[in-house]
């Protein structure tokens, strides 16, 4: 009995992480039909933010450290949301209606973000800031001129070279004068450990098992996020706008809903949720540049199984996949039967990675019956 309870609990716990990660993805996909390959990297940014916040609070020490996690959650949300906003304004909005291209572009962004956290140091950060100030400031100044449209191409070319050159020069000078202090990477390629506050360590004893507090915390966090998103979508004016754009973009635009703002907002929200997910994930282990990659495919599968019609899809999809993965991965099924070939079969799949193989197989089978997922979008407009 307790083993089944433990199975359900662990499955739910895996599922809640999946859900947290998939929530943002599902909202964005539902609204814009865009799959964001950099979603995992936004999670990773959230995790790194947690790491930074933790270090900050460590130096404060004392009781404050016990509550850094709440600050970290908010910080992770904001950082990821801001990066998401930049991503949407800078890249994705030019690619609406071309989902496959968006896939490739966001993959490029994810590569850049991965390498960024590996090699970011003071020189790079300062150089980047200088570049942005010079380039965008310069563009803003030039844009005031009356003949801007005519000289646009030249302005971009000149400003781009100039600001790149200046920021490289400054970076070089900095590196020469301060040496290692500024050229040492902040994080490096190694994984970093995040220490959970003491009240999240240990676990709630349940018979022979222990329910880790960190996992309970993540489950509560997930519930809070789902409820929060639900309330936001259902009760707030912007939620109403998001829902209306999801259903009919053109009609919403005609009614005066600023669809561009809705897109940007939704994307930022989805990215922020990824940041929160990253923060949660960092409690379970170390943080590394590849943190996001480990989750991304599973979260995509959640969206495939759940369908894009409703939030419930993501919730149920994530929980089912989480439980399946756990139940298959631990070989629990093998203990349920005594029929030898079946036992062999189940033990063959009884590792975490082999469980994924089995789950994928099951998903493909599932799609034979429900091609559009659990909660498909309905109506005659779907397949115009």
């Amino acid at each position: 009995m307790t083993s089944i309870l433990d199975g359900i609990f662990s499955g739910l716990s895996i599922g809640s992480i999946l859900l947290l990660a998939a929530l943002g993805l599902a909202i964005v996909f539902g609204l814009m039909g865009v799959i964001n390959m950099a979603h995992g990297e936004l999670m990773m940014l959230g995790a790194y933010t947690t790491y930074v916040v933790q270090n900050g609070f460590k130096s404060l020490g004392g009781v404050a450290f016990e509550f850094y996690i709440f600050v970290a959650l908010i910080a992770a949300f904001i950082v990821a949301a801001l990066v998401g906003l930049v991503l949407e304004r800078g890249v994705i909005r030019y690619l609406y209606g071309r989902p496959l291209e968006t896939l490739l572009a966001t993959w490029g962004v994810s590569l850049i973000l991965q390498q960024f956290v590996r090699s970011v140091n003071w020189v790079m950060a300062i150089g980047l800031v200088i570049f942005c100030v010079l380039f965008f400031g310069g563009m803003r100044l030039v844009a005031k001129r009356a003949d801007f449209e005519r000289i646009r191409g030249w302005a971009i070319a000149i400003l781009l070279t100039l600001s790149t050159a200046i920021s490289f020069l400054v970076g070089y000078l900095l590196a020469q004068s301060f040496k290692l202090a500024v050229t040492q990477p902040w994080f490096g390629a190694q994984n970093k450990d995040v220490t959970a506050p003491s009240w999240l360590r240990g676990g709630l004893p349940m018979g022979a098992y222990q329910l880790p507090y960190a996992r309970i915390f993540i489950m509560l966090l997930t519930i809070a996020c789902v409820v929060g998103v639900y309330l936001f979508l259902q009760k707030s004016p912007w939620g109403l706008r998001i829902r209306s754009v999801t259903q009919n973009r053109n009609m919403s635009a005609c009614l005066g809903i600023p669809t561009q703002k809705v897109d940007a907002l939704t994307f930022a929200l989805g990215s922020g949720l990824a940041g929160v997910a990253g923060c949660a994930v960092s409690l379970l282990g170390s943080v590394g540049p590849n943190t996001g990659q480990n989750y991304i495919v599973s979260t995509f599968m959640v969206v495939v199984v759940g369908g894009v019609g409703k939030l419930e899809g993501a919730v149920i999809g994530a929980l089912i996949l989480g439980i399946l993965e756990y139940v298959i991965g631990t070989g629990m099924l093998a203990t349920l039967t005594t029929f030898q070939p079946l036992v062999d079969f189940f033990t063959f799949f009884a590792t975490t990675s082999m469980a994924k193989v089995m789950v994928f197989f099951l998903i493909v089978v599932f799609l034979q019956f429900r091609p559009a997922g659990l909660f498909p979008q309905k109506g005659r407009t779907v397949d115009a």
């Binding site: 309905k378 109506g379 005659r380 397949d383």
Partner: protein, 270 residues
Amino acid sequence: MNEKILEIENLTVSFDGFKALNNLNFSMDAGELRVVIGPNGAGKTTFLDVITGKVKPTEGRVLFKGRNLRSYAEHAIAQMGIGRKFQTPRVYLNLTPRENLELSCNRNKRVFPTLFRKTPSAERRTVSGLLETIGLTHKADMKAGLLSHGEKQWLEIGMLVAQSPDLLLVDEPVAGLTDEETFRTGELLLSLAESHSIIVIEHDMEFVHQIARKVTVLHEGTVLCEGTMDEVQHDPRVIEVYLGREVDAEHPVTPLEDALLEPTGTLEVN
């Protein structure tokens, strides 16, 4: 010509409880040209969707030449001889009109014949003939994306004919066309009607006048009435659904014809 080409019995289609078609009965003879009209949301497009297999009936059945279409997919239905032209012209923009027509004209549409069989010269001749009919001979080898709206409409009608179906379903063939183009489209449809059965869905009443022999009026998913243009125009129920008010003595109704002959925009905002 008493053989029925299309029979629809007690057809109901519901989306999430909303009945787009409600207990609809319809039949037409082989060789007939039928015009279907009806206000917005009457279920006209769903009607075509069901016939072409895009939407499966919730209840009831559709018989084409006596065969129930329920278990067939869209492509199978198309091969059985039902061709469809869409509301907005859907031609392959990156192919030339000639290639567009050749694809539709291809007799054996399975994978390997399409790959290995050479285009027979008979098909080529059909295509050239069709290009002439739809007036695109001299634009035959430029991308269809460069054609004008009217030319695309005609190209799509050409593709429909190239399929040589027995039943043509034509959804708003004159939307967005000039008066002259509209008239020519009407002529084209009339000449096609000599050898095919055709269902036309249209809002442009002048155009309906030009081609209509028998008209079916759809309303809220059912057939409201059926008859010649004259009969339909003077049917009080039709007047009611089109003008949206009770017929009573104190407010004499504008003759439907006037209303219908106004620019299409008043009746139908698409």
